[in-house]
């Protein structure tokens, strides 16, 4: 089994994701340069957080045109496991590999803090080690994490159980106060309809060791390993 972590110009959580996979999951992992056109040999690809191309245009809007993204698209079409974290989620939405869009936080400021997330669907490639309704503590760090989709799309992903994580309070209640950025239906993470592509604004790779204040992110990353081993 091999993980790949894509480096776009401006990625800055690539090393964190790499270390989490190598040191905490204990799985083989390699970097994938943004100009690479071949991603064969990987079982799971991570699009990491950061500010690809500075995000001076709409977040993720330039990165989706990187040479590597054609290969990533094919990888996903062929059923490969693909997860976008923060900026990676934004890129996946821009590339239409996931439905909806991420717009500026409703407070118009960058937010960095630990948040509580409720696991909405634990029967996925990315959450199978969690229990349904489990509350995870994982940090967010973004300026544009406000999930938006038109009414039809939103209904479709809700009906289809594609919402995997929602912002909630410490007791697991999904409330407006627990929504840090204005996301519709408190959505923090989703999967595509096929279930092999996930995007989430919170950073699981920042919550994989007790010294970082939480190990809940390990559940997300290890779930991928479980599914790939199955």
């Amino acid at each position: 089994m091999k993980f790949g972590v894509v480096i776009f110009p401006g990625s800055n959580c690539d090393q964190d994701a790499f270390c989490a996979v190598r040191d905490v999951l204990g799985q083989p992992v390699e970097y994938i340069w943004h100009q690479s056109t071949d991603v064969s040999g990987f079982d799971c690809i991570v699009l990491p957080g950061g500010f690809s191309y500075g995000d001076y245009l709409r977040t993720g809007a330039v990165a989706r045109f990187s040479p590597v993204m054609n290969a990533v698209q094919d990888f996903a079409d062929n059923g490969g496991r693909l997860i976008g974290i923060c900026n990676g989620f934004q890129i996946l939405c821009e590339a239409h590999l996931l439905p909806g869009a991420l717009i500026d936080n409703n407070g118009l400021r960058f937010i960095c803090k630990h948040v509580n997330l409720r696991v909405e669907n634990n029967n996925t490639d990315f959450t199978n080690l969690c229990s349904e309704g489990q509350v995870l503590s994982i940090p967010i760090a973004h300026h544009g994490g406000n999930y938006y989709a038109d009414a039809d799309t939103l209904k479709k992903i809700e009906d289809n159980n594609q919402v995997i994580l929602r912002y909630c309070d410490s007791a697991g209640k999904v409330t407006p106060e627990a929504n840090p950025n204005g996301s519709l239906n408190n959505i923090a993470g989703i999967i595509n309809d096929r279930g092999n592509v996930a995007g989430m604004m919170p950073h699981p790779e920042r919550a994989v060791e007790s010294i970082l204040g939480s190990e809940d992110g390990t559940l997300i990353l290890q779930s991928i390993v479980e599914r790939l081993m199955a």
Binding site: C13, D16, F51, Y53, G54, D55, R109, F110, K113, L212
Partner: protein
């Protein structure tokens, strides 16, 4: 080729650039002719206070490491501290005050960018940023605007480059209204063998300009930093540079990767004075010279003159000197990261910086004269007249509050005391996944991968104390910073300073500067924290007022076992709450509780409740201070403590309240006092740390306390969900933790969102 037949420069021209008639005379003497227009510009900026330290240099000799370096091998890499395991750390703090006053967002952003380049140009990977900020009160719209955009600019830059902003401080005082302070600090880590040098070695080696294109932004930024702010300063916006953190992120990765090739013989970042500074400093350090052609510099605008190109402070650029024949190997790394890397010249053996505009020689000056021989001046000092009045204020006539709980709530909600979550919540403080103690505690802690160690970092300065007594205020800044480190379990290893003062040409301001530097230097020596880097920022005044003297110290410490790190919040119901202190309090056996009235001098209580900045700063006994730290560090290492929190701004009551709020628990506290109860609650007596621990560990703590000969007092217990404090058995404070939290946590945010 040489320059001949130059005409005298119009005095108005060089005076406008900040040079005096005598300095112009010295230039003609050195050159043996009149300078060209480009040369005058180069001298003006290199000999400004900002680059040349022409006023501060004699005083900076109080710093032992600085004196050693100046008298010996030079300043370079004096900044690297060995932390064992083959690793070194380097760190530096720098001001960007004037740019932030006129263009807060870009001023702050480029302040962060500049200090980061100082770190990775040494071959170190930046692992953390801190910042120390000062503004006028948030009740004023202009101050809110400055605050919002300075914080926004720091976040914009730091978040994008992927370096966590982990700690800092923010104070609000009227004296900073016209001239806010932005001091940015960065920390880097490296393997010793990866250290890079800013030296132009090797005659004939090519000189590469890498990174961004050069534009007209920031021309004479260093000169702008060396004058007072006035109404006209708004028109100086073009002196402010524009930051591009995306390019900086690429530059960090490309530089560290290019250094690994082993072909870079010298490298220097470009900050103040741009190409002028980097060419003459790298040559001067190596005893070589350099030839550069400005026409080869990649430009962002057309029609730029040699003068503009040499003085531009466009950001995200570096000068690299490369082994001849390997320029393409090095350039390839930068090009891989999408950056320019262009040969603009070569190293020469004649000690001169030659600037060509194509075939035409436009400047030819001795590198060493430009870099090292700025004229220095012994300025007059005079003790300011206000000092006697404020110091002799009779504190016994201060009226006691009618409601102590209300007073506590007011101090908790004051802008300088209230939670800074509104600030650090906008900074990515977790990227790189090393932050082991998040912002909000006394010091941030970062783990060092592949070792058991941790680095603790903090910045500190109470400007009000320095206004009341610059010597003592500066010593307290160092003592408090070291106390912050001790609360996390760390011992200091090094310091950096950012000296923010008024106009040095005014004897009163220069007196403050000299006294503060002396105090800080002595205290740093005492704590074995060599000052390895620093920055001086003068002229922090407007026609209305000067800032408080604000010598900010950035202190770094090491924790041997990062798993043992301690934080400031109470954790367990039933834990004892103990005050470790240099002097006695509450000791019934010795029957005489200390009167702390004097320690109300300069306190936040006097400022918030009575609107006063009077008295003397609290007394400080460095020896006792250090012993208190040692007790707490040893107790943390022995695993005795549940929490440790520095007792500083706001006094004992605020320290207790903060430990309650952050731990979401209450405490039952009883104090003894033999003078005004307000002093027992709010005096800012030094050398005190509030700790909590399980009751069965008290004996072990007392052993350490006795061994070091300091005092420990049981103040009470962690209990319930209210903070109750009695003084001499009279209940004075009863505050629900939830109410205190609301006041403390939302004070700043609610003002900003109005």
């Amino acid at each position: 080729m040489s320059i001949t037949n130059t005409e005298p420069i119009d005095p108005k021209v060089y005076q406008e650039m900040g040079l005096s008639d005598e300095e112009y005379g010295k230039i003609t003497e050195v050159l043996g002719r009149h300078p060209t227009y480009t040369e005058v510009g180069m001298f003006a900026v290199m000999w400004s206070e900002h680059c040349g330290y022409k006023y501060s240099r004699p005083i900076l000799r109080y710093f032992s490491k600085y004196k050693e370096a100046i008298d010996g091998a030079g300043l370079e890499n004096a900044g690297i501290i060995d932390i064992g395991g083959g690793y070194g750390v380097c760190f530096k703090i720098e001001s960007h005050n004037h740019p932030s006053a006129v263009e807060p967002f870009q001023g702050a952003a480029t302040g962060v960018g500049g200090i980061l380049r100082d770190i990775f140009t040494m071959g170190a990977r930046p692992i953390a940023c801190l910042n120390s900020l000062r503004f006028g009160s948030l009740s004023d719209a202009r101050n809110r605007y400055l605050f919002e955009h300075v914080v926004g600019g720091i976040g914009f830059y730091g978040n994008c480059v992927g370096v966590p902003t982990v700690a800092g401080e923010v104070y609000f005082e009227e004296c900073y209204a016209g001239n806010p302070l932005l001091n940015a600090m960065a920390i880097g880590i490296m393997k010793h063998e990866d250290v890079a040098y800013a030296r132009a070695e090797g005659i004939g080696n090519p000189v590469l300009l890498v990174g961004s294109r050069t534009g007209r932004d920031g021309i004479h930024g260093a000169t702008f930093a060396s004058v007072e702010l006035t109404e006209e300063s708004e028109s100086r916006k073009s002196n402010v540079q524009m930051g591009d953190p995306f390019t900086e992120k690429l530059l960090i990765e490309a530089t560290l990767e290019a250094l690994k090739t082993g072909y870079i013989t010298g490298i220097q970042d470009m900050g103040a004075a741009g190409i002028t500074c980097s060419t003459c400093e790298t040559s001067a350090k190596a005893g070589t010279g350099m030839k550069v052609d400005v026409r080869k510099v990649p430009l962002r605008e057309t029609g730029m003159t040699p003068y503009e190109i040499m003085l531009s402070e466009s950001q995200e650029r570096m000068l690299a000197i490369v082994e001849k024949g390997h320029e393409n190997d090095v350039a390839a790394v930068f090009k891989k990261w999408g950056l320019h890397a262009v040969v603009v010249g070569e190293v020469t053996d004649d000690g001169l910086v030659h600037v060509y505009d194509g075939d035409e020689l436009v400047a030819q000056v001795p590198a060493k004269t430009l870099a090292d021989d700025a004229p220095t001046y012994q300025l007059k000092t005079s003790e300011p007249a206000y000092l006697k009045d404020v110091q002799n204020y009779d504190l016994s006539k201060i009226k006691e509050p009618t409601d102590y709980t209300e007073a506590l709530m007011k101090v908790l909600g004051s802008e300088s005391i209230a939670s800074k979550e509104w600030v650090y919540g906008q900074y990515d403080h977790m990227v790189q996944t090393n932050t082991a103690v998040l912002p909000g505690s006394d010091a941030a802690v970062l783990r060092i991968r592949e070792t058991t160690k941790g680095i603790a970092a903090t910045t500190d300065c109470n400007g009000r104390y320095c206004y009341l007594d610059p010597f003592m205020g500066a010593q307290i800044a160092v003592a408090e910073a070291a106390r912050n480190l001790a609360c996390s379990g760390a011992r200091p290893i090094g310091a950096t300073d950012c000296l923010n003062f008024g106009n040095p040409e005014k004897p009163e301001a220069f007196w403050q500067f000299e006294r503060a530097v002396k105090g800080m230097a002595e205290a740093c020596d005492f704590f074995h924290a060599p000052v390895v880097s620093g920055n001086v920022s003068f002229y922090n005044e407007t026609p209305e007022m000067a800032i408080y003297p604000t010598p900010v110290v950035g202190l770094l410490g090491i924790i041997g076992d990062v798993e043992k790190r301690c934080t400031s919040e109470f954790k367990n119901q039933g834990d004892f709450v103990i005050l470790i202190s240099g002097t006695r309090v509450n000791d019934e056996e010795k029957s005489e509780p200390v009167c702390e009235l004097e320690s109300l001098g300069g306190s936040e209580y006097l400022n918030t409740i009575h609107g006063l900045a009077v008295g003397r700063p609290p007394k400080l006994d460095l020896d006792r201070e250090k012993k208190v730290h040692e007790v707490v560090i040893r107790a943390i290492e022995a695993g005795l403590l549940s929490s440790a929190h520095d007792c500083a701004d706001g006094g004992l009551a605020i320290a207790l309240a903060e430990s309650c709020i952050m731990g979401k628990v209450g405490a039952e506290i009883s104090l003894l006092a033999n003078c005004a109860p307000a002093a027992a609650l709010f005096a800012e007596t030094q050398s005190r740390i509030v700790v909590s621990l399980p009751t069965d560990k008290l004996g072990a703590l007392r052993e350490i306390v006795d061994e070091l000969g300091v005092e420990s007092t049981v103040l009470g217990k962690v209990s319930g969900n209210k903070l109750n404090i009695s003084v001499n058995d009279v209940s004075l404070v009863s505050a629900p933790v939830a109410e205190m939290e609301l006041t403390w946590r939302t004070s700043i945010g609610s003002k900003m969102d109005e």
